[in-house]
Symmetry: C2
Subunit: 229 residues, 2 copies
DNA sequence: CGTGTTCTTGACGTCAATCAACTCCAGTGG
DNA sequence: CCACTGGAGTTGATTGACGTCAAGAACACG
């Protein structure tokens, strides 16, 4: 129903799944991954988790009816590839060029410190997933898009009057993350532009002009078009 | 917007937060918790995780606008109270009488086996949260309710022609889990009853009569009322 | 400059929230 | 035993938001 073309170069996955084991040493050197390459596939045996060193990674799952749900965008410092039963629960793809650190699952069975770090990361992601659930079910499409822009702006604020954000993917990618249609994303962005809340210099970037107004839009829940009494 | 009355007896929480530390022994005796009592509160310092021994526990979060999102129902063997930063990320309440095992967080710093078990549980919950995200955003209310009934029936199948499930909470609770209104839950259940898919002996239980038809309804995505070609 | 992809914009239909009655209990007290 | 009460559930009518379909515009590619 959504997009069937996942635009992934499958051959890139080869260099991924082989964990870099530097002769007994557990901590591994970062591997370079080009844009659009697959980090790991949903359902594959989970040999390692990865820590993002640079670039943006997106994780998604394919529904039985072919629709795609993007479960998260990950940046520097975040862990991806967590599993519970030795199998990856989602697919991870590079959205831009970047570097990843490989941490074999065998290593954190022996090293409690690493295990604790991975555990903490899992809890954070659980927290994020629950936040996403709140957003997806209780917010209007308007609020979803507004919140999404603010979420992107949070880590990278330029101290200027406006905030520049690079949109991680096409309209359809954003739509698959927010659980709306691509047309709706387009409509809401256009509305924000018309009202002077954002500028849209090109397809992959946005510039926030009125952050307070955007925050107000992000907080509004279903059918709530103003402030509460 | 949803319900403000959380019907919780706050005084019950007292016996909860004190972890049962039997003189240096880490594994703890189960504590008895009556229905509607609070296991822990969102935002409280996370002193322990809990394993459910009997009864049903529900976890929820309160949105800034007062709406409630139930993040899960937990039964025997499942872990609750996971955190990443020493603070509970949701509130847990007993839906029925039950017993809980208390596992102080301090203990699984020293015991890797426990930590690994908690980590595995965190990953499972992450998996469940992502499944919930898929359901919430891509499915019709019809499919949500059907899937919910099947989810409840999975752990406790009676080998008979019909499957009896006890509904964990009122209509509003189910609604807050599925991200729909209570009226919609009522309507969908009534529709299933009218079509002979389920029986509703009383308010807190359901009996699945035609599980295949229910599965078909659960798989249907938005606007898909029949089979695919 | 042609072709395919991505984005935008409009028209229309549908599903579910909302509001509002009404019913159905469980508990309470006369 | 029955009226009263309040919460839970059901059902109907209405409305709005968003998905879908479709056509066009903007952009990227060779």
């Amino acid at each position: 129903m959504t997009n069937q073309r996942h635009s992934l170069r499958a051959e890139d996955a080869i260099m991924t799944t082989s964990p870099v084991d530097t002769g007994g040493k557990i901590h591994t050197m970062p591997i370079v991954k080009p844009s659009d390459s697959v980090v790991y596939h949903q359902g594959d045996a989970a040999a390692a988790v990865f820590r993002v060193r640079s670039g943006i990674v997106m994780a998604y799952r394919i529904h039985c009816d072919g629709t795609r749900q993007i479960t998260g965008f990950f940046q520097r410092g975040e862990m991806i590839g967590l599993d519970g039963d030795g199998v990856y629960i989602d697919t991870a793809v590079m959205v831009s060029d970047g570097r990843l650190e490989t941490i074999p699952t065998s290593s954190f069975l022996s090293e409690p410190a690493i295990q604790h770090e991975v555990y903490t990361s899992a809890c954070h992601q659980l927290h994020d997933a629950q936040e996403l659930i709140m957003s997806l079910t209780r917010k209007s499409s308007d609020a979803k898009v507004a919140e999404f822009l603010l979420h992107l702006a949070r880590p990278r604020r330029d101290g200027e009057t406006g905030l520049n954000v690079t949109l991680p993917g096409r309209r359809q990618d954003i739509a698959d993350y927010l659980g709306v249609s691509a047309e709706t994303v387009s409509r809401r962005l256009a509305a924000f532009r018309r009202e002077g809340l954002v500028e849209l210099p090109d397809r992959r970037s946005a510039r926030i002009l009125d952050i307070d107004a955007l925050v107000a839009r992000a907080l509004a829940s279903r059918g709530n078009h103003g402030l509460d009494p």
